[in-house]
Symmetry: C2
Subunit: 170 residues, 2 copies
């Protein structure tokens, strides 16, 4: 998530988290904010959980530098060598238009490729490169480790119960 400071304006004065001598500034104890009914809404809880889940995913996958969608696409290609773009899109709920730059990036990084010509000349068959297989393999290991940490937080049987409940919402 390194974001280059594209066009600095003048100079930073705010420091937000550190004082002049590196002293940590305790954000002034603002009066606690009441959440009201928000605290008991499934939608809101889902939102917060998902945000923290994505953060955890990115942290866990730093080494392989894959975003959730990229990871999902690579996994799907590995499970279905030769799939067409449209099929991946339909399965993951992506827009075919948005899939193009996504796959371009994976291809640029040498992880996946389009094999043209397979009987229907309109479509291309998607495959992982050897490098892509290796990277995904490592990604799956990292992901499994993360999933285990998540499962630990959820308690005994919690992960399975959560999966079951979440599927009822889809």
């Amino acid at each position: 998530m390194s974001r280059a400071p594209v066009q600095a304006r003048k100079k930073p004065r705010d420091s937000e988290s550190e004082g002049p001598a590196g002293r940590v500034i305790e954000a002034r104890p603002t009066r606690p904010v009441r959440f009201g009914p928000l605290a008991d809404y499934v939608g809101y809880a889902l939102r917060r959980a998902q945000i923290s889940s994505v953060a955890g995913f990115l942290e866990a996958m730093k080494e392989v530098d894959l975003r959730p969608t990229q990871f999902a696409v690579l996994t799907l290609i590995r499970e279905n060598p030769g799939v067409r773009q449209t099929e991946v899109c339909a399965a993951l709920g992506l827009q075919k238009a948005n899939f193009v730059p996504l796959l371009n990036e994976l291809q640029r990084r040498g992880l996946a490729l389009r094999k043209a010509g397979v009987p229907d000349r309109r479509s291309s068959a998607l495959h992982l490169t050897e490098h892509g297989e290796a990277v995904l393999q490592r990604a799956l290991e990292l992901h499994t480790q993360w999933e285990e940490r998540v499962a630990a937080r959820l308690g005994v049987g919690g992960r399975e119960r959560l999966l079951e409940l979440l599927r009822k919402l889809t």
Copy 2:
């Protein structure tokens, strides 16, 4: 969500879901795509559930035309009359910079307002207008109805179990 066709290029030819005579086209029975391990990942399940949750929220709130964040902000202001922007941002995990246009819109719609001058002249105290109170009241009713439908899908005690599990992830 009405999105004006800002700059049409030529004419639509694709129809995607309907044939020439209105006949529904069964997206050609594409070979089923295997999901592999993706199917059992908490992160992926969360993602799908959240997408469908947001869709359900928007559907349920059509009448009052509130997005999830707007709804959350209004609720928080109602629960904490006079809060400062920064406090709302911290509570909801928003960026103060992004909060500005969000609140502007709520103000433009006559739902909330900034009261200036309260001791610290830098900050403004946030309040709901009478109209805002009324709209939020209706929104809460609609939200409750939706929440009940969600709870029904989750089965007896499912909603509570889900909330508990989700909170462990945050």
